[in-house]
């Protein structure tokens, strides 16, 4: 698989996993008064400040066949987690977690309890309230989270390098391929891929800004 297709597949899988895992986590963080909230928020924000190599290094130790997670995974019948696509997904999910959870949490908090209570008195159960009230009112945050999660995964380098190496068709994503070309002094190929990435990223962002109008402007800031 070409580096570009691999990158898109990784970003799409990662974004899907992040929305699935990040939504309940962000919802819990937005609503809870538990003392566990602050430590969890700090943990979620950690990938924002850590060098990707640190994250990649620890993931390598954890996910390696003899590492605690890797061993458990293979005993459960899973394939190898390092130097594989599955490993890249795990790494990307962790690395992009704050880019999805934080905008979701902020938009969930902005919805507040008022509309939810009103919906409850009108006969809507918890899941119904979430789907019919929270998701539409927080759609800007959901869109921001999706785009940022996707784009950030596309632009990822350090974690992939540490965890996946540079295996053509399996772990060689665009950013790695560019690095590889530059190393071998093939500047023309590096240019092609780099420009492609610039154009792609610009297009994605353009689609979001233009398609949603002023209403869907990315208003996300690291907190």
């Amino acid at each position: 698989m070409s580096p570009l297709l691999l990158t898109l597949r990784l970003a799409a899988t990662t974004t899907a996993c992040l929305l699935l895992l990040g939504t309940p986590l962000a919802w819990w963080l937005a609503r809870t008064r538990s003392p566990a909230k602050a430590p969890l928020e700090a943990l979620v924000a950690l990938p924002l400040v850590l060098p990707p190599t640190v994250l990649g290094f620890y993931l390598l130790l954890l996910l390696a066949p003899r590492g605690p997670v890797g061993r458990l995974w293979s005993e459960l019948g899973g394939g190898p987690l390092v130097f594989s696509f599955a490993g890249l997904v795990v790494g990307s999910v962790l690395y992009s977690l704050p880019f999805v959870v934080q905008p979701l949490q902020a938009s969930f908090e902005a919805v507040g309890s008022g509309p939810l209570e009103a919906a409850a008195t009108l006969g809507a159960g918890p899941l119904d309230r979430f789907m019919s009230i929270v998701v539409p009112l927080a759609r800007r945050g959901v869109l921001t989270a999706t785009v940022l999660g996707f784009a950030h995964t596309v632009g990822e380098f350090g974690v992939v390098l540490m965890l996946g190496g540079n295996i053509p068709g399996r772990t060689r994503v665009v950013s790695i391929a560019i690095y590889d070309r530059v190393e071998s002094l093939d500047y023309a190929a590096a240019h092609r891929l780099s420009l492609l990435l610039v154009a792609f990223s610009f297009l994605v962002l353009l689609l979001v800004y233009a398609g949603g109008g002023a209403g869907s402007r990315l208003r996300w800031r690291p907190r």
């Binding site: 509309p115 209570e117 008195t121 009108l122 809507a124 119904d128 009230i133 539409p136």
Partner: protein, 367 residues
Amino acid sequence: MSGLVAVVAHSRGAFRLRAELTCAPGEVVAVVGPSGAGKTTLLRCLAGLEPASGGRVEVGGETWQESARRLFVPPHRRRTGVVFQDGRLFDHLSVRGNLEYGWRRRQSGGGDTHPGASEREAMILATAADLGLTPLLDRPIDGLSGGERQRVALARALLASPALLLLDEPLAAIDPRGRAELAAALRTACRRLGVPVVLVTHARGDVLRLADRVSVLQAGEVTASGPLASMTSALAAVPPEPGEDLAAVIEARVARHDDADLLTYLDFPGGTFAVPRLDALPGATHRVLVQARDVSLTLSRPIASSILNVYPARVEAIDEGDDGLPVVRLLVGDTPLLARISRRSRRELALAPGMEVFAQVKAVALG
């Protein structure tokens, strides 16, 4: 009786709420009191929005909450209609979307009836027409005025076919002119719905316009409770709106019309009011407001006066009004009346409880 029977207990920090409340079907009970007395908390407990609350809530023979049995029906299974003070409309839906929200859920949750789309449309159109919302149906929420928002909130609550209607300061965000209009719509709606209605307010005008019975809540406890007409003095604890005075509320019946003098005569326990010609059938009941500043006192019956409404009255008590001026509580027959007088009048008339006087009523407002 199958209305609302509730004993609500809730505490938050140092604040304790322990209130008993009953309300018959079709009746409007106003819960009044100073802010911080726990009025809104009481409503929230009835709606099931305070999961930590205790006590017992029974509506229409169904038990929604009973802490002794650890029974707590969550808010979405309680069939309450709530009109929140701030409206709480769904901004992402149109007016129609808001109206349909509760209606859809209650219909599918009820199980026994599944009316079709045409019936839904008919229900929504009828309710919208009652509340003057027909031209707004396809409008988004964010362009609506305060009065329009509250009418949408009321229609939305009514369409969810509630077994208990809870109104939290429904008229607070509305200008005085729209207030009378919405109050009339509310009264019609409450009467038609035929379920218990609990109204929380700190505005005396709301009470006089809407309530059948009044409960005064102070520091989390019900300190007085009774039919509106008997609560005239208890209502003195409720602050008036700007431009509004203390008033007595009297239920009066249309006795007859006098087309020559352009007057209508209204009977009340204790006498008859003459008011400008009304468009009402004889026998109809009318709620009449007599503001304290419109009542003056004389020791003998005035012989020649332009004031038609003069009644022999007995002084019950003389209170200090909130502006320091005396407020005289009177009884005309069985009907309480309030008169605001000057300190000098009080001295010169030598007013004291038990005295017989004549009360002249300068103006009578219809509630």
